[in-house]
């Protein structure tokens, strides 16, 4: 197969190992052994999408994953050694993305893709690579790197996390150990747009250590939420101040936050997972815990929300992937033992836990196109909901007095929206 495929640039076809029935899978997990697993929660089965031979060494460990574009047909996996592999899910082909791989000893921490054009990868040394690609839609496997279109950002030592802003597409946030949260503009790589300032000294007048473990942009804004290695949840508003606007210390546990996910339907709720397997829903306005979720015996490595439904999935080093309903019972709805330690996870947005959704999953290969249309339809309906709510934004804000300092959060319109 590899010989017949046209090789363009540095593209190389690695294997055609996994079968066509992949679109039955709705949760994809990357493991520390290097296997990529597709699993179907409703049927309680899973399969490896790559072969065992391809994960011979520790460098092949999958550390991060993302979708190539919003249609969720291509899945990118970042390996520990810096390689990025492209899984073309409909065809079942794995290709190598021709990106530059840095020197040894650096570990790939995170990758983000923007509409099949830009790939941003972050390494633990603090290096951030933005590369532009030309993706040929006619042949599935080929993509060419644009020359002279590589941007390199040095964001400081010990990088732990990186996130890309979906609404302001040139913004990227980074953070790490003794490396404060920074927001970068891809187009001006020398200086960050925003650098967070450390919180004030504690009651003994000692410096509070910095350790940003996870960060995520709020939906449709440039505000950021971070989870730290000292179990604090912080909200930053670059427009307002350099120190966090909201700072929550998780009570009676000092374990690092290793997973964080914002709820898509709300700007204030987020799921937080720690190294000892505590999974809980927090509210930024309440500055407190809303609910704990049970089941994990080991540290949680990744949490992802479903795009439309109020479900989320979490995976951990105890080799389980578990699905929960956000506002429902503490116990998991589904759990699946996947045999290897899990590092990262991706949810397919076509997945639904009710029976109707179950039938969606069982579409055949020919129905796949309509399937993806259906997803888009769903997203459109969601947008309509947003339009309803935008009425509130259009309303005039009644002010009694001129304020000295503009309030940052929660803005008045949003309070109204949520009280509704």
């Amino acid at each position: 197969m590899a010989t017949t495929m046209p090789c363009i640039g540095e593209v190389e076809l690695i294997s055609k190992s996994f079968t066509m029935n992949q679109h039955l899978f709705n949760i994809f997990t990357g493991t520390s052994t290097g296997l990529l697993k597709g699993s179907s929660m409703c049927d309680k089965n899973f399969a490896n999408l790559n072969s065992m031979d391809s994960c011979s060494s520790k460098g092949k460990e999958i550390t991060c994953m993302c979708w190539w574009d919003s249609k969720e047909r291509n899945l990118l996996t970042g390996l520990r050694n810096g390689q990025v592999l492209n899984y073309w899910l409909e065809v079942g082909v794995i290709t190598n993305i021709p990106k530059s791989v840095p020197a040894e000893k650096s570990i790939l921490r995170s990758i983000k893709a923007v509409d099949k054009k830009i790939l941003i990868s972050a390494f633990n040394t603090g290096k951030l690579n933005c590369e532009h690609f030309n993706f040929d839609s006619t042949s599935s496997t080929s993509c060419v790197k644009q020359l002279n279109a590589e941007i390199e950002i040095n964001s400081g030592q010990d990088l732990f996390c990186m996130d890309h802003n979906l609404s302001f597409q040139n913004q990227v946030a980074t953070g790490g150990k003794e490396n404060p949260l920074k927001v970068w503009d891809i187009n001006s790589p020398t200086n960050p747009i925003f650098t967070a300032k450390n919180v004030p000294n504690d009651w003994l007048n000692l410096r509070v250590p910095v350790w940003v473990m996870k960060t995520q942009f709020l939906h449709n804004s440039d505000k950021l939420v971070t989870g730290t290695g000292f179990s604090q949840i912080r909200l930053y508003d670059p427009a307002a101040q350099r120190r966090p606007v909201i700072d929550i210390q998780i009570k009676d546990s000092k374990y690092p936050i290793t997973a964080l996910a914002l709820r898509p339907s709300s700007d204030f709720q987020l799921i937080v997972g720690t190294t000892i397997g505590n999974l809980s829903l927090y509210d930024l306005r309440k500055k407190d815990l809303v609910q704990n979720y049970k089941g994990f015996a080991g540290g949680i490595t990744d949490v992802k929300f479903h795009a439309i439904h109020p479900y989320f999935a979490a995976c951990g080093v105890d080799r389980y992937v578990r699905c929960y309903e956000v506002d429902a019972h503490k116990k998991e709805m589904h759990s699946l033992f996947l045999k290897s330690e899990l590092n990262c996870l991706l949810l397919s947005s076509s997945w639904s836990l009710d029976d109707q959704g179950h039938s969606i999953e069982k579409y055949t290969q020919s129905d796949l196109l309509s399937d993806t249309n259906l997803v888009e339809d769903k997203k459109e309906t969601l947008n309509e909901d947003n339009n309803d709510e935008s009425v509130w934004d259009q309303m005039e804000v009644i002010k009694t007095k001129k304020r000295r300092k503009q309030l940052t959060l929660p803005s008045k319109s949003k309070v109204k929206k949520n009280s509704k």
């Binding site: 296997l35 015996a297 080991g298």
Partner: protein, 299 residues
């Protein structure tokens, strides 16, 4: 009859009835037993097999993490883990044994006995050093494992087993420590390298723990010494025993106990070397969440 009984309001009569009921029940049981014995005597080997008693172990809640050692993926996982160099015979075990600060008498003699049991091990006094400072030094001196015995009120009650150079770290609760002098009819320990018997570790977590315990002992036992060290897992309690065996004939083996005894119970297993604050836990015992069923076991 048992249904009628609670309805009788007179306590004395109710008691009488209950006694009568028990008597009859016993009578039926004995008759059945007699019948079964008779059958067994008559039929000999053709008799129906004896019923198996129900125990907590054989009624164990099914566990999906049970390891199938022939599974390709499990093999791959085990080949890549931190203990793999030992099983590929690339490293020879060298063990550092230490205690908490200012150990009392019993802990001191216990670690000395542990040193005699585990070949190629060194006892060091803790001298108030942090474990996080000890570990890099131990790695530099090519130690493969670190054992720390903790105590409370002069009684050893905890064990930290840290595999070097890059983990994992297991923390155990230690119970019922019996030193050699507290045991009766004890044999003399010899210098031969012992055989190791790790028994009944079946889940994925159990396999890791079993591998970590195996790692403490040399690859090639000296079979002439007939020394055997046993880690037996039963209902998540790990029993440590040390014996010398002798084959009397083809069927019978006689055992003589040699060393100390103790029981371990796993509290947590952590990735990497000892770092209880920021290390990620592979498994941690959560009492209220996990101990919901008496028939659920983790190892």
């Amino acid at each position: 009859m048992s249904l009628i009984m609670p309805q009788i309001k007179n306590k004395q009569r109710r008691g009488e009835m209950y006694k009568k009921f028990l008597k009859e029940k016993r009578k039926v049981k004995m008759e059945e037993k007699k019948k079964r014995k008779k059958e067994e005597n008559q039929l000999g080997s053709k008799a129906p097999p004896k019923k198996k008693p129900k125990t907590i172990e054989n009624m164990r809640v099914p566990d999906e993490t049970m390891v199938d050692p022939t599974n390709e993926e499990t093999v791959l996982d085990l080949e890549q883990d931190e203990m793999a160099p030992y099983f590929k015979q690339e490293t020879t075990p060298k063990i550092l044994i230490t205690t908490c600060d200012r150990p009392k008498n019993k802990t001191n003699s216990f670690i000395k006995e542990l040193k005699k049991v585990i070949p190629n091990s060194v006892v060091k006094y803790r001298r108030g050093l942090d474990l996080k400072k000890i570990i890099p030094q131990a790695i530099a001196k090519d130690f493969t494992d670190l054992l720390v015995v903790n105590e409370d009120a002069g009684e050893p009650n905890g064990l930290v087993l840290c595999h070097l150079p890059d983990g994992p770290t297991a923390e155990f609760k230690m119970m019922n420590v019996k030193l050699c002098k507290e045991l009766k009819r004890l044999g003399e320990m010899s210098d031969h390298e012992p055989e190791i018997n790790v028994h009944n570790f079946n889940t994925r977590l159990g396999v890791t723990i079993g591998r970590m315990l195996t790692c403490l002992f040399p690859h090639r036992p000296n079979y002439r010494g007939r020394r055997v060290v046993t880690f037996h897992n039963q209902r998540d309690f790990i029993f440590f025993r040390h014996h010398r065996y002798q084959f009397r004939n083809a069927e019978k083996v006689s055992l003589q106990e040699l060393g100390p005894r103790f029981i371990l119970k796993l509290r947590s297993l952590q990735k990497g070397t000892f770092d209880s604050k920021s290390g990620i836990y592979l498994w941690i015992h959560k009492r209220h969440e996990m101990d919901t069923s008496r028939r659920k076991f983790h190892l």
